[in-house]
């Protein structure tokens, strides 16, 4: 009987060790080409993107480097929701650096999402106090239960932690300054015309909407310059009535906070019917990524007299 107890205790001890390590120390595991902690180590920056997978796939960082002299970075987490963006922003602030311009994701579909973490890397990159703040934000939205709690603090990101020695070298080859470097080919027109997309939830999740407003207010309090951008989606999605409805709610939320610093897809002259630019409804091919980034940088240069582009 005694041996059985030792065995059980050993198993539980292993669990505890991994959980403690993951929650408290994982943010210090090196991830040299992406993530919040890496950005903090970069010091002051001129341009910082903070968004979802659209930012990961749709921004070409080498081009941004040329325009901003390498003082730039892209923090992109898949499915990064407004509710999560607030603690991420606060974590960056706590790093003590200054950022000339922060670029946030105007991604209307995130407004209707249930509160959750799509990319376990978010949890990984935050320090423990920030994790707690994120958890509190999730809990306040009342969409969490015991299994969410367990997943948040125990199982999420565990796969990556355990396979870190193997997967990290792989990830190092895939990203540059947080954005994808892969020469993604465009999908065929046939695929893009027929790919189904689902905006089944059109009802705005108040927690997400409120988080957008909260982010804006925090930036104002800190005197942080920012702009929200909507990367162009393939026309089938962009013209969808439900999508447009969510987009108008997002825009109204910004305007209610007195924000006019936003760049919609239509402000950039990029042809969203050109299948060469798209891998799917929301993500660009490598060609699309470069085209959009070029146009965006030009737009930013024209708009902002205080930018450091010559």
């Amino acid at each position: 009987m005694k041996k059985a107890f030792i065995s059980i205790a050993a198993g539980l001890a292993v669990i505890a060790a991994f959980v403690i390590f993951k929650n408290i120390f994982s943010c210090y595991l090196p991830a040299k080409n992406r993530g919040i902690q890496t950005v903090i180590r970069q010091g002051d920056l001129e341009l910082l993107f903070l968004g979802s997978s659209t930012f990961r796939c749709n921004i070409d960082m080498p081009l941004v480097d040329e325009a901003y002299d390498g003082r730039d970075y892209d923090i992109a987490y898949a499915g990064n929701q407004p509710v999560a963006t607030v603690p991420e922003y606060e974590e960056l602030r706590a790093g003590g650096n200054s950022y000339g311009l922060m670029v946030f994701d105007l991604n209307p579909m995130l407004l209707s999402q249930a509160v959750k973490i799509s990319d376990a890397r978010v949890i990984w990159d935050l320090t423990f106090p920030s994790k707690l703040r994120l958890w509190k934000g999730m809990k306040d939205s009342e969409e969490t239960d015991l299994s969410t709690f367990y997943e948040f603090f125990v199982t999420s990101g565990m796969d990556d932690l355990i396979t870190y020695p193997i997967t990290e070298p792989f990830y190092l080859t895939r990203y540059y300054k947080g954005a994808k470097t892969e020469e993604t080919p465009a999908s065929s027109r046939e695929y893009l015309e027929n790919e189904s997309f689902d905006i089944s939830k059109e009802k705005v999740n108040e927690s997400q909407r409120a988080a957008v407003a909260a982010l804006v207010r925090r930036c104002r309090e800190d005197g942080q310059r920012f702009v929200f951008i909507e990367t162009p989606h393939y026309y089938r999605l962009a013209d969808d009535p439900k999508y447009r409805q969510l987009k108008s709610v997002f825009v109204k939320t910004l305007e209610d906070e007195g924000v006019d610093e936003y760049i919609l897809a239509e402000d950039i002259e990029m042809d969203n019917r050109n299948s060469e630019f798209f891998e799917d409804m929301t993500h660009f091919s490598a060609a699309g990524r470069r085209e959009y980034t070029r146009l965006l940088l030009e737009y930013l240069k024209d708009q902002s007299p205080s930018s450091s582009i010559d």
């Binding site: 009987m1 041996k3 059985a4 030792i6 065995s7 059980i8 050993a10 198993g11 539980l12 292993v14 669990i15 991994f18 959980v19 979802s52 997978s53 659209t54 898949a78 499915g79 991604n107 579909m109 995130l110 999402q113 249930a114 959750k116 973490i117 799509s118 990319d119 376990a120 890397r121 969490t144 015991l146 299994s147 969410t148 367990y150 997943e151 948040f152 125990v154 199982t155 999420s156 565990m158 796969d159 990556d160 355990i162 396979t163 193997i166 997967t167 792989f170 990830y171 895939r174 799917d280 409804m281 929301t282 993500h283």
Partner: protein, 475 residues
């Protein structure tokens, strides 16, 4: 209440404590009460139907007559068909009582055994009720027989630390299989099978393979939990799985997969059908067409066909299940029919059944046949099944694009690589564990403590408890 609900361990602990603390003469009655409470916790609405089955069957089979059997069959099959198979439009049931397929078969098995004089009817309705409602097996089986269970359930049992350890270890294995392996595979399989048209051959093959593992891990894991729990109480459940994927032939596979269901069909459908006059005439007729065929083989053809179609339908009212049943009907009939020829062929080829390569070949071939069958079993429609078959056999590709696509259904974007690695390690681990068990390698029992600790750690860190809230959606 499901075995994986958070309250289940508490329920079990309380039940075990109650079972061993009450005076021995109340023990089995306590177990009956516990079982009925357990069943009601799932949904109180189910309880009346279970009770109807128990009460009517017990009454009608008291005399063991043909009329009693007929009444029992009508009531129980009637209820089963009503709830599980929506045959009459407008009279479809919205609920399906928990475990009805399983406890109905236990009931019918009891009735048929009484009628055939294999067992004597139990006079005490409460003892009979315990047999049917015994909570570790009511949800998903095993389909116990009165012969195996009847006496055990009412005999006194005393707490035994050894049994606690053995049962506990088995429960741990069950949770590991169910929460870690089946849990992780489920999302992938569900994603692909819900829209197979979106995926290429490699992804589809992976999904089918994963399903084979998922189904086994889930079902046998559940059996492990039930058996382990029952062991602690001192009651042995019939085994339902004996490492079936190590089978070398399909007939052998069916002696090792869902054993109690197949034994039920063998005893209550196959053998009776085989001995009927109708089957005799039918096989005599076949003999005229195929004079060289073995009489015994011909006698099995009709019963095999009927049994396999019925087995298919037992799983559900869908064309895919019927297709699956038909698939195995053909295979079993062919296997049985060719047994004589194959024996001669093997003698001529000097086939050494103990040769390692031959064993591996046969095992892989059997597993492959089973996986093809799973396409029918899991597909959501016959059209989907046909599409999957077509793609797998015409579109196989190992290109980087295909490999990348096969990672998508993991659902966590670029972290799929980590998940894929972990999953590979887990499946490999399970395989090695079972291989050692198959070879009766004693290293498994010597390192039990280590394995227990490892499984606890793995279940805690890698288990899927409920729907994942953290899955990638392409935004």
């Amino acid at each position: 209440m499901s075995f994986t609900s958070i309250w289940f361990p508490f329920f079990c602990a309380l039940s075990i404590a109650a079972y061993f603390l009450v005076p021995v003469r109340y023990q089995w009655k306590t177990l009956l009460i516990i079982s009925l409470v357990f069943y009601s916790l799932a949904n109180p609405v189910y309880l009346p139907f279970l009770l109807i089955s128990i009460i009517t069957t017990h009454y009608f089979m008291l005399k063991g007559t043909g009329k009693g059997l007929a009444a029992t069959l009508i009531i129980n099959l009637g209820l089963l068909v009503y709830f599980r198979y929506n045959l009459i439009p407008g009279f479809n049931s919205l609920i399906v009582p928990l475990g009805i397929s399983f406890y109905t078969f236990m009931t019918l098995g009891y009735a048929l055994d009484v009628y055939n004089g294999v067992i004597k009817p139990e006079r005490n309705i409460f003892k009979y009720a315990l047999f049917i409602s015994y909570f570790p097996q009511i949800t998903q089986g095993p389909i116990g027989t009165w012969e195996a269970m009847g006496r055990q359930l009412i005999e006194p049992h005393y707490f035994d630390a050894e049994r606690l350890k053995r049962g506990g270890y088995r429960i741990l294995i069950g949770y590991f299989k169910k929460l870690v392996i089946a849990g992780r595979l489920m999302f992938y399989v569900d994603t692909v099978f819900s829209s197979p048209g979106s995926y290429g051959a490699l992804t589809l093959c992976t999904a089918v393979f994963f399903y084979a593992i998922e189904l086994y891990a889930d079902f046998s894991g559940y059996m492990d939990i039930a058996a382990g729990l029952s062991e602690i109480l001192g009651i042995r459940l019939s085994e339902n799985f004996l490492r079936p994927y190590f089978s070398r032939t399909i007939p052998e596979y069916w002696r090792r997969w869902h054993i109690t269901l197949n034994e039920w069909f063998r005893d209550h459908l196959f053998v009776p059908l085989m001995a009927t006059e109708f089957n005799r005439s039918f096989s005599d007729g076949l003999k005229k067409v195929l004079p060289k065929a073995k009489t015994a083989a011909l006698r099995t053809m009709l019963p095999l066909f009927v049994v396999w179609l019925t087995t298919g339908i037992w799983h559900g009212a869908a064309w895919t299940y019927l297709g699956w049943g038909l698939y195995y009907a053909v295979i079993m009939m062919a296997s049985t029919g060719s047994a004589g020829i194959m024996k001669r062929v093997r003698k001529k080829l000097k086939w050494n059944a103990k040769n390692r390569f031959i064993i591996i070949f046969q095992t892989l071939r059997t597993f492959f046949i089973v996986c093809l069958g799973y396409i029918f079993f899991r597909a959501e429609s016959i059209q989907d099944a046909a599409l999957i078959f077509k793609r797998i056999f015409t579109g196989a590709s190992l290109s980087p694009g295909a490999v990348k696509q096969s990672l998508i259904p993991f659902g966590n974007g670029h972290q799929a690589i980590a998940s894929a690695l972990i999953l590979t390690a887990l499946i490999l681990g399970l395989f090695i564990y079972e291989l050692l068990e198959e070879r009766q390698d004693d290293r498994l029992s010597r390192h039990r403590l280590f394995l227990a600790a490892a499984m606890i750690a793995a279940t805690g860190l890698l288990g899927i408890f409920g729907q994942s809230n953290f899955l990638y959606q392409a935004f």
